[in-house]
């Protein structure tokens, strides 16, 4: 039976076995973790059992005795659990998880060498599993040998590889196996030596001989060395319906081609014919594109599947308690992207458990639950996939990070002083920040966050980190759905066309040529544009690429494409914005490949080539974002309260007659009220109103500021109410205008009483009223602390 074709067939079987087994093991770990917790239905246990059972059976048939034997010990334990004779426990889960590792490792060995003889030594694991089987279940499962012989061969694990038999003829007859059996037929005679099958009737009690592993070990040609992907990664399962649908569309395509060919033979071609065919082509290709995309899509859950295990193992190593929750595991992504984010995600998860989450004692002391929450969430948004990893751990201490970066010489003291809290946290993305030794990135261990960031940016994604010290960290990854076809904005500059991936685009701004002079300013030699009160640094694409610039006269307008790179915006000035298009990304040739300002090239509808710009590359090459920081600094001198920077503060904007732009932080205010002037009572020079069952003193801000105000004709008094220690104070302001969120960069004027400083709000210089000082003056507050008083 060992013909050539049979060997081929065996090789194919081995491939099937590897695929089937790795598929089976895919959810194995997860299922075990559920079982460990004890919240499962019996069918899950049966499913887990079946995975190991199938591996054992198939491995045996293919002659992989080592994998069969280890699977067998695991099967014993699982079988006891399934029958309710063994309760799940962390120890058992540990052993079974190790079994899953062992099986995976052995499958890999088989895949690379064609046999499992090179597989590692798992006798220890086997002993552990056997101990669980025997120790936890002292009686019953494996009866003493005599007893077994008296009844029936117990099971294959009794070293006696069973046999075959008949049920019918003489059901209760006890016979010595083998001898009689052999006489039955030639076929049985053959079987005698192996005693592997039987008919129930023939022989009820075959005493089983030791079985020689009969199934031949299989010689599989070793796979080509270059094949890096494992067998599970090299194949895709496609829904038959989808496949039929694709075939259908290919049929349509062929029809369309025939039509086109026919048309091309005609001498006179009517334009309407051409448009009919092109429409058809358009439709078919679109559907085909979507269909093929679907076949490449994979649920992100296929990657997440291994995280519960990683989190569990790591947490128990570190003595921490972590609950991992996942949402949106069915979010679909292109296979190549799934591959690309696997390692970065693993690293982030490890980081979160290792550095982010505190030990139960520390958590308890901080008033948190002992068990930490780790949340993974994936969802689609605006043609991108968002993945969030949220932990409620210790958060990142910006100053610590800053200190470490200083220590490593990644930044200098001057730079460190200028950093906002957020920028400090972002230092962890700097190359060389990670202290871990570079080991391997398979497990994610030893790779710095810079590698995570680079890897994600390589596939057109971005990473953002938000952290509140003491409360936790959120990491947000945005990645495109696919790499092959992207939506892009086509622009023209210097008579050349460029494509900008839509994901980098924030907005488009068009400026008339005659307004150019006035609206574009220069700060520190960098052209900037004032966009809604914020300075947007600009890059002129034609100058940047040294393209022949168009004559100024010929432009009627310029367009600014506002691009986001490293969570900062800058404007790319181009001559013309043409259209958005779905472009097919082609990699650049070797000569251009190392130019980071280009992300690739594409072929436009008219057959010409357009270069795809890399927003991050352009930004770093032109240095525009560094300039942005400088120009922002130029506008604001010293920052009074560093913790204010970078964080948006809601402000109440109001005005006094003759003093246009004033603001107070919304946070400290209790309420905004309006009073009819008639309800205000004056006694002893102090104005007050009845308010919430008490008396509230009113202060006129204009008086305080030494600014003579008259409220003639005011029909309503606008009052901002503050509450401190159970007392209310109303500050009468002129007119409440608006509430805005604003990053406060205070310019400390300080010379005027009750004014904290000035800041640019919506493009206007606005004075921030020092509410604390007012509260202190009125005796509502005692210490002139910087912290605002809350009710």
């Amino acid at each position: 039976m060992s013909s050539e074709s049979f060997d081929d067939f065996q090789a194919e079987l081995v491939k099937d076995f590897l695929l089937e087994s790795s598929e089976g093991l895919e959810t194995f770990d997860q299922d075990l973790l559920v079982i460990e917790k004890g919240e499962f239905d019996p069918s899950l246990l049966n499913q887990v059992f079946r995975v190991v059972h199938t591996i054992k059976g198939t491995a045996g048939c293919l002659g992989f005795s080592r994998i069969e034997s280890i699977a067998h010990t695991g099967e014993n334990v699982l079988s006891l659990m399934r029958d309710g004779e063994l309760e799940s426990s962390p120890d058992i889960a540990d052993a079974l998880l190790k079994l899953s590792d062992a099986l995976r490792a052995m499958l890999e060995v088989i895949e690379s060498s064609g046999s499992d003889e090179m597989a590692g030594d798992y006798t220890e694991l086997k002993a552990v599993l056997d101990a669980i089987k025997n120790g936890e279940q002292p009686s019953g499962f494996e009866p003493p040998l005599e007893e077994a012989a008296a009844r029936e061969p117990e099971s294959v694990d009794t070293d006696s590889d069973g046999a075959w038999g008949f049920f019918d003829d003489e059901p209760e007859q006890e016979t010595v196996a083998g001898g009689e059996l052999a006489e039955e037929s030639a076929g049985v005679a053959q079987a005698k030596e192996e005693s592997v099958w039987g008919l129930f009737g023939d022989d009820e009690e075959p005493v089983v001989e030791k079985t020689v592993q009969e199934a031949k070990p299989v010689n599989v040609p070793a796979p080509v060395a270059s094949k890096a992907e494992s067998i599970a990664g090299a194949t895709v399962r496609v829904d038959v319906e989808l496949l039929d649908c694709l075939m259908n569309m290919v049929g349509e395509l062929v029809l369309s081609r025939n039509q086109l060919l026919q048309l091309s033979y005609q001498r006179m071609i009517a334009p309407s014919d051409v448009s009919a065919i092109s429409q058809r082509f358009n439709q078919v290709t679109t559907e085909l594109q979507q269909g093929i995309m679907k076949t490449r899509m994979q649920q992100i859950g296929t990657v997440w599947g291994k995280y519960p295990r990683i989190v569990r193992d790591l947490a128990s190593d570190l003595g921490k308690r972590v609950e991992l929750e996942t949402f949106g595991a069915d979010t679909e992504l292109d296979r190549t992207i799934i591959e690309a984010i696997k390692d970065p995600l693993t690293h982030i998860i490890r980081n979160a458990v290792d550095h982010g989450i505190e030990s139960p004692e520390v958590r308890k002391a901080a008033g948190k639950s002992e068990s930490a929450q780790l949340l993974m969430r994936a969802f689609h948004e605006a043609g991108q996939v968002n993945i969030e990893i949220v932990d409620d751990g210790a958060g990142i201490d910006g100053n610590k990070i800053c200190g470490k970066a200083l220590e490593k010489g990644l930044i200098d003291v001057e730079e460190a002083g200028r950093l906002s809290e957020r920028e400090k946290i972002n230092l962890i993305f700097l190359p060389g920040f990670s202290t871990a030794e570079k080991l391997s990135n398979v497990s994610g261990r030893g790779v710095g966050m810079d590698v995570v960031k680079t890897n994600i940016e390589k596939i057109g994604g971005s990473v953002e980190i938000h952290s509140v010290c003491g409360e936790g960290t959120t990491l947000r990854i945005k990645i495109p759905l696919t790499l092959a076809i992207v939506a892009a904005l086509v622009v023209k500059s210097g008579d050349q066309r460029f494509a900008i991936p839509q994901v980098n685009l924030v907005e488009l701004v068009r400026i008339k040529a005659e307004d150019m002079e006035t609206s574009i300013e220069t700060v520190y030699d960098t052209p900037v544009f004032r966009l809604r009160g914020k300075l947007l640094p600009l890059v002129f694409l034609d100058k940047f690429l040294k393209l022949p610039a168009r004559e100024a006269v010929s432009r009627s307008s310029v367009s600014i494409a506002v691009l986001r790179a490293d969570s900062q915006d800058y404007g790319l000035v181009v001559d013309v914005v043409s259209d958005t298009e779905e472009i097919v990304v082609k990699p650049l040739g070797k000569q251009l490949a190392d130019m980071p300002i280009y992300a690739g090239a594409t072929i436009m509808g008219d057959g010409s080539v357009a270069i795809i710009l890399d927003a991050v590359g352009v930004a770093s090459r032109s240095g525009v974002l560094g300039a942005a920081q400088k120009s922002a600094e130029a506008l604001s001198n010293e920052i009074e309260e560093p913790q204010d920077t970078g964080e948006k503060v809601p402000l109440i904007l109001f005005s006094l007659p003759g003093w246009e732009n004033l603001a107070v932080p919304l946070e400290a205010a209790e309420r905004l009220e309006e009073f009819d002037p008639s309800v205000i009572e004056t006694s002893g020079g102090i104005e007050s109103v009845h308010y919430r069952g008490g008396i509230m003193q009113l202060l006129r801000l204009g008086d305080l500021l030494g600014f003579e105000t008259s409220f003639e004709g005011a029909t309503r008094e606008q009052v901002i109410v503050y509450k401190c220690g159970g007392r209310y104070l109303g500050i009468v302001v002129g007119e409440n205008r608006d509430i805005v969120e604003q990053t406060l960069k205070l310019e400390n004027i300080g010379s005027r009483p009750y004014i904290k400083g000035s800041a640019l709000v919506n493009g206007r210089i606005t004075d921030l009223v020092d509410v604390d000082a007012i509260l202190v003056r009125t005796g509502l507050k005692e210490l002139p602390e910087s912290a605002l008083c809350h009710g």
Partner: protein, 121 residues
């Protein structure tokens, strides 16, 4: 030439059994679990059923029981393909009406020996 159905949730085993039987000149049907097999077999008759025991949806014992309830299958040999040749499983198999069993792993020759034994003539 006989028609034989092989029922197993492991496709590797199905293929292996199928290949062996085909090379011996038989016609082979496949089913991935008991339920699929039962649906397939309801309307037709085969000469031999070789079925795995532990399968999702419907196991081999149940399949045997259900087939035996069909008049067309009252005498068709049914062989359990199993790794669990334990006493409990065996008596279960016997009670369900199975003809015989074969333990995984088995060689091709062993399988063919069993087949030639259970098939008439």
């Amino acid at each position: 030439m006989k028609t034989i159905i092989t029922v197993d949730d492991a496709s590797t085993i199905r293929k292996m059994v199928g290949f062996t039987l085909k090379s011996a000149g038989h016609q082979v049907l496949e089913a991935a679990d008991g339920l699929e097999a039962y649906e397939k077999l309801k309307g037709k008759s085969v000469d031999l059923v070789i079925t795995d025991v532990n399968m999702p949806r419907m196991d081999g014992i149940e399949l045997t029981r259900k087939l035996r309830a069909l008049p067309a299958y009252s005498r068709v040999p049914i062989v359990l393909l199993t790794t669990e040749a334990g006493a409990a499983k065996k008596s279960e198999g016997r009670a369900a009406g199975a003809t015989g069993w074969i333990v995984k792993p088995f060689s091709q020759d062993q399988l063919l020996a069993l087949v030639s034994r259970v098939l008439p003539n």
